[in-house]
Amino acid sequence: MRPARAPGRGVPGTLAVPALALLIALTVTAALLAAVGASPGRTYLTMLEFGLRPDSLVSAVNRSTIYFFAGLAVAVAFRMNLFNIGVEGQYRIAALLAAAAGAAVDLPGPLHLTVVCLVAMLTGAVWAGIAAVLRTWRGVSEVLSTLLLNYVATAVIAYLLAEVFAADSVTGSTPELPPSARLPVLDGLPALFGLPLPAGVHLGGAALGAVVFGVVVHWVLTRTLYGHDLKISGLNPTAARAHGIDPRRMILITMLVSGGLAGLAGLPDLLGNTYRYGMDFPSGAGFTGIAVALLGRNTPLGIALSALLFGFLERSALILDIQGIPKEIVTIMQGVIVISVVVAHEVVRRMERRRTARLVREGTSPAASEPAGPAA
């Protein structure tokens, strides 16, 4: 027999959630805008118009790759019920060491790039690994340890920058990375779609990396034994343990993977934009990553979409200042969207569960007639 496929909600149902959520968010912000005397319609139009310019799109994508990696890192841990608040510290310390390593060695192109990426992933993994070890060894909640390690990372970075890596630099940064350690730009891609980019605006190569990693992570999560075991361990650690999935090992591996992905979050900026790590290196992506992961329901595709949404909103916010509209409205919008998406999702989920329950009752499988008591 070929059993019926998953009782999905179909395309209209899938679209209902974001549509509903967006509607709520737009209504709330419209009310706020009206309250300060700005025209909501005009504001939205301006944002849309500006946000859809080719260079805006490219900028939104560039920004979203950072959030994507950060979100992915959070999500992988979440699958195992681990809350990695420490992506922030992990990606910053990873970026610092990657920058230092990249500047210190001289290798031919792709190899150089690979080394820098590996250093970043390794550093992120090690930093997250501290929390994993504390958790498996002493039962320290990873929520706490990763949070505290963020502050420790800040101190360590400041120290390393000041005393080791940038001790004699005027700018207080690591030396600039040579071209061989930089990510290529993908300007051909927008050109392919006929989007002209102004001088100096580039689509970063990290976007391609994000796609690759997204696919790989998706594949690992859904198509490998590790992904399966991860999911089960997250849902029921006791059962997983009884079936030979060692929870400590899973926690360790998962935090390492999460930290490794977090390590990548600093690279789009480092290898495609600043080329060096200094005091002015952009921060905060780790926290945004949490929101992005939660909004994206911990799946790579969802995270990609929510990262793009965040990137788009932040980019469009720029134009509001020019128009004299308080751009904090965009931050509010982000918060409202996160809440309304989960609320909308919950509502739809409840409806769906009721449907599944009905299916279980009605769609009895063919051979399942009442078991006649087999004579002993």
Binding site: V36, L134, L149, A155, A291, E328, I329, T331, Q334, G335
Partner: protein, 427 residues
């Protein structure tokens, strides 16, 4: 039915749970405190540095601990009712804006009240989304943090940017101040002699230190601090000694059981989250009325999260939370006031780590080895350097917390149903 089975003898009384006895037993905490005190005193006497136990450091620690403790208490009320609250930071931010605005227009106590109300409003949002809609509590908390940053900016632009001495990110000063009290006789209140102060000056071994610590806690204490202490004790009383408290906790321990006994789980959770919001708002109000007298963007500085850490540290109990907040406040105070003493502190750390190692040696040899190793590292660093880089001093409070957690984490127990939405019939 096997009718032949005879009745078993009465069941033996079970021993109480070990960890709670451990935590409550004075036999463990008192020696620990004495060891710490002795070590500190010795370092002051022989190390030649300024006192780690001076009343100035202690009172600074107390002042820095109050917002953290209130944030922790906020988390405690929410989590005891079964709702994780990661939005404390955001609720505090709302508390600071509202508090500063009302404090400017109507005086300082109005500011306190407005801070609480602002926090309650944010708590209400959290309650509606997590309790009524049953949405993932972590998501909502994080969203509230994002939202609060935007809302605070939005409000401060509207409320403050045109006022004299204020701007888009800063409020005008709050009107009036919240006074302080000193305990008479002991700490020189009401013009009486300051006995502890004199003892502290004496520089006698141990006596001077104890006096310093006590004076720090009794001299010029803000009324707001007293309010916070009252709230800690009040929380113990309400949550553990009233019917309401039992019901509220039952909503966090086993909502289905509570429901089946007629407890209104959703109502209890609403109460917990609203009180949580109010306390977070209060913590924010403290920042704009006592810590300083203005609202500044970014003023909360992650204290909402540190409060959560203090709560977990304190095993979801008010007194423990207060202890965690004090520890944190103390480490922060040292970092701000006595950065130079941090180097000496390495020596203290080494002594304490070795003491801990000896204590756990028989039960947990591997932990003992790790602690001893850390102690040796601390000593080695102490020997080979003569100051700690300022950048690293910044990490002290956080490292201290981590270190203490490593020792006590396994005794912690959170309410069983935190984070799990309750709907009747969900099993």
């Amino acid at each position: 039915m096997s009718a032949t089975i005879p009745r078993l003898p009465r069941l033996p009384r079970l021993p109480r749970r070990r960890w709670s006895r451990w935590a409550r037993r004075p036999r463990v905490w008192v020696p620990a405190a004495v060891v710490v005190l002795l070590a500190m005193s010795a370092i002051r006497t022989f190390g030649g540095t300024e006192a780690l136990t001076g009343s100035g450091v202690v009172s600074t620690a107390l002042r820095l601990a109050v917002p953290i403790g209130l944030a922790g208490l906020s988390g405690l009320w929410s989590e005891r009712a079964g709702v994780a609250n990661l939005g404390i930071e955001g609720m505090m931010i709302i508390g600071t804006v509202c508090g500063a605005w009302a404090g400017y227009t109507h005086g300082v106590w109005a500011g306190v009240l407005a801070g609480v109300l602002g926090g309650v409003a944010a708590g209400l949002l959290h309650a509606v989304v997590t309790v009524t809609f049953g949405v993932d509590q972590a998501v909502c908390g994080i969203a509230i943090n994002i939202l609060a940053v935007g809302v605070a900016r939005f409000l401060s632009v509207i409320a403050f940017s045109d006022l004299p001495g204020a701007g888009a990110t800063q409020s005008p000063p709050v009107k009036g101040v919240i006074g302080t009290v000193s305990v008479p006789l002991l700490a020189g209140g009401w013009g009486t002699p300051d006995i502890l102060g004199q003892l502290e000056q004496s520089r006698w071994f141990l006596i001077s230190d104890v006096s310093g610590i006590l004076r720090g806690l009794l001299h010029e204490v803000s009324w707001f601090t007293l309010l916070a202490v009252a709230l800690i004790l009040g929380s113990v009383l309400v949550l553990w000694h009233t019917a309401f408290g039992l019901r509220l906790r039952s909503a966090g321990e086993h909502p289905a059981a509570a429901d089946s006994l007629g407890v209104r789980v959703h109502l209890m959770r609403y109460c917990g989250v609203l009180v949580s919001g109010g306390l977070a708002g209060l913590a924010g109000a403290y920042l704009v009325t006592v810590s300083s007298n203005v609202y500044r963007e970014g003023q909360t500085g992650g204290r909402g999260f540190i409060g959560l850490a203090a709560m977990i540290f304190g095993n979801w109990r008010p007194t423990g939370t207060a202890g965690g907040a004090l520890l944190f406040g103390y480490a922060d105070a040292l970092q701000l006031r006595q950065a130079a003493a941090m180097h000496t502190l390495l020596l203290l750390a080494a002594v304490l780590l070795w003491t801990a190692a000896i204590v756990v040696l028989r039960r947990r040899p591997r932990l003992a080895a790790a602690l001893a190793l850390l102690g040796a590292i601390a000593l080695a660093v102490f020997q080979t350097t003569d100051s700690i880089p300022t950048q690293l001093i910044y990490a002290t409070p956080y490292l201290t917390t981590l270190l203490v957690l490593v020792t006590i984490a396994q005794r912690l127990r959170m309410p069983a149903y935190v984070g799990i939405p309750y709907r009747r019939g969900d099993s």
